[in-house]
Symmetry: C2
Subunit: 387 residues, 2 copies
DNA sequence: TTAATTCGTTCGCCGTAGGAAGGAAGTGTG
DNA sequence: CACACTTCCTTCCTACGGCGAACGAATTAA
């Protein structure tokens, strides 16, 4: 009956505070890219004496690269240090219906390697083989893996239910984590997109945002106070279920709102207006049609009204301050976005910016990078001093 | 051109980590109430050697009181330490139309002193005089002040606009903080209620909840991941503005939904159903009427449907997992709450509990206590080791 | 060439953490 | 009643890391 070897759980002790300083320096360097030790003392508040050995370690580990001397008007020139983004790699894995796409990126979100893999055997096995293979000799720098679960766009806990055993939470995440030995995060792709836009897209300057993703369904990703919020059961952002439309009828996992106003529904209507095969981007097609066809213009207006009610609902509940349009909603032209903004402004209780997301397909990747990097720093909420 | 004397902003340095340990012990003691040093070593992970002087200090400062020896089967009995809630006092100030009510409470939320004051002169002056007077010789133990702004229930930034200059943010908060020298938080009362129920009411066991407060207007307070979330402009929870009701018409600061389904609206309808003067609790009156009067029963059902749509909307956006009914909504009887729960379950994408809030009037006070205590610990996100 | 200036490093003090040992205060047992 | 035993708390001691201060380094200005 020996106890499990629980690590004595020391408190805030020595090792911890050392780690905090390390992270403080790394995170500063990540932002500033090229700086000297003198600047580090200013920015981190650490004394030069403390920095000397710390920086030495970081150079040895490859986080920092010593560059030539910088310019200075007088005195000894500062020896510049450059942050090496390749020192930290992350893997972003996207699960798609019959394949997985896997990308290795550095901490700038620059893709170092990528590959799409047909899904044949076990998912966990495939991931655990592909990631190290793709990372190659960069494997020791791997800091985390983020896995984006598909089709969750507007299903969350509910719609995922059938595959929950396979995809969500424990099974995949923990298995991969055990095998690869780095933190693994599993989340739905809309949440990852929101994190991506927040970290490197149209939301870097705000702490709160809502990303509205319109595809086969409609889902939202939510960033509040700088963090993605998933709600109690991970179903936050299931805005396709909003009871906004008396005419909307949901069914088995499809919400009443998205049943009428998702990309699929729009496509049907567009095909009815302009017979032919389904266009690649129904929204763009509709916008184009609306210029000449009054029926299309009328429907576009209906659509914008519907989406605006959706956005206003979100604003009333969480007041994100900024709403990003993603997926099919990003295909609106400037005029339509402006119209949407006006509708929202008229009905919302708080000023809210509506604009397009900017990262497109790369949003998930950037989100994965941001997840994986913060997972690496987990347990150590930022204690950085004010700049 | 001397620089402002910015404190050198040391990083995570010595004093800081000492402070962290202090808070770690205090917070553990606050939860456990009666414990020995031996238990503290287990719970905090600090070594006995570290604890001895720390506990000595805390006893000297009045945070802990040494009690007689406890029981033990063998060996030296543990000397028990009792947490003294009176060691930390907070002030909760409620701004009401023409008066302010001021309460001093200990960290259990037990009211030590209270008083209602007619508002004559300047608000800030009044507060800064009343609080110390009321605290009396307990003043040195004052850890924070929370000010609940009134009538913000469903106005947030918008409805507050006229009085923003006087009430919100900087002016009052900062002035009082400067004068009294303790952290001051200003927030609207619904947010405080949500914090209160989370800290000491019907939400102590969950990290996420939504408190729906129905009064003259309808507002919601939001706790996500254990924190009250206010949104980008402080307008989170403005659910009275939800565009759920095609028939609802909002006007100058009144949302379309609350215009039809707030306590005021219900009162009018109840008076129409049973002429007389307006009952104290329109909802209770309606529930009673519904037993015999089919019209009342029909209206009650409409009302529950409306509220359920409101709740479902919130669930779709943030998935709080638990919804607490407060204000007039807490006057529903068990049957009606059950019916509401069923309606929500049928339409929500995620399982959600609906129940009554339990603190009633005391919710704001408990919220203020929780705010003030966490304000005292601010800047030091919990680094407590896992239990 | 010398002074002035700014950077980075090494040295050494100090304070805190935590290990080890010892005293304190009980219970059980011969 | 004496003795071992157990558990709790304290005190002593050592090790380690942060930071102040002095020092060496590398350049510009005079």
């Amino acid at each position: 009956m020996t106890d499990v070897v629980t690590p004595p759980t020391s408190p805030v002790s020595r090792e911890r505070s050392k780690e905090i300083k390390r992270l403080s320096v790394i995170s500063t360097a990540r932002q500033v890219r090229l700086l000297s030790r003198a600047e580090l003392t200013e920015l981190t508040g650490l004394s030069p004496a403390t920095l000397t050995p710390l920086v030495r370690d970081l150079i040895a580990e490859g986080y920092l690269i010593e560059r030539g001397p910088g310019t200075s008007r007088a005195g000894r020139p500062r020896a510049m240090l450059e942050f090496n983004p390749r020192a930290e790699l992350v893997a972003a894995v996207s699960l798609e219906p019959s394949r997985i796409s896997c990308e290795i990126a550095d901490s700038d979100g620059a893709v170092v390697a990528h590959r799409a893999i047909r899904l044949t055997g076990d998912i966990v096995d495939t991931i655990c083989r592909s990631v190290p293979e793709l990372a190659g000799d960069g494997l020791p720098a791997l800091r985390g893996v983020a896995i984006a679960a598909p089709g969750v766009i507007s299903g969350g806990a509910v719609r995922l239910a059938p595959s929950v055993g396979l995809i969500e939470g424990r099974p995949i995440g923990e298995s991969v984590q055990r095998t690869l030995g780095v933190p693994v995060v599993v989340d739905n792709d809309v949440n990852l997109m929101a994190a991506g836009e927040h970290a490197a897209g149209a939301g870097t300057d705000v702490a709160d945002l809502l990303l509205l993703h319109v595809a086969d369904g409609i889902g939202a990703g939510l960033v509040l106070d700088g963090q993605v919020r998933r709600g109690a059961r991970g179903a936050a952002g299931e805005v396709g279920f909003l009871p906004l439309d008396p005419a909307g009828r949901g069914h088995d996992g499809i919400g009443p709102f998205e049943a009428r106003w998702s990309e699929n529904a729009i496509a049907e209507r567009v095909v009815a207006l302009a017979p032919g095969r389904r266009p690649d981007s129904p929204v763009r097609a509709l916008v184009a049609l609306a210029v000449t066809d009054p029926h299309a213009a009328g429907y576009l207006d209906e659509l914008l009204h519907a989406w605006s009610r959706l956005i206003v609902s979100c604003v009333c509940v969480i007041d994100p301050g900024r709403v990003l349009l993603s997926g099919a909603a990003a295909d609106l032209d400037d005029a339509a976005v402006g119209r949407l903004q006006d509708l929202v402004t008229a009905a919302a209780p708080s000023t809210t910016e509506v604009r397009r997301a900017v990262l497109g397909d790369r949003a998930v990747l950037h989100g994965a990078v941001s997840y994986a990097l913060s997972a690496a720093a987990a347990g150590l909420p930022t204690l950085l001093p004010a700049p």
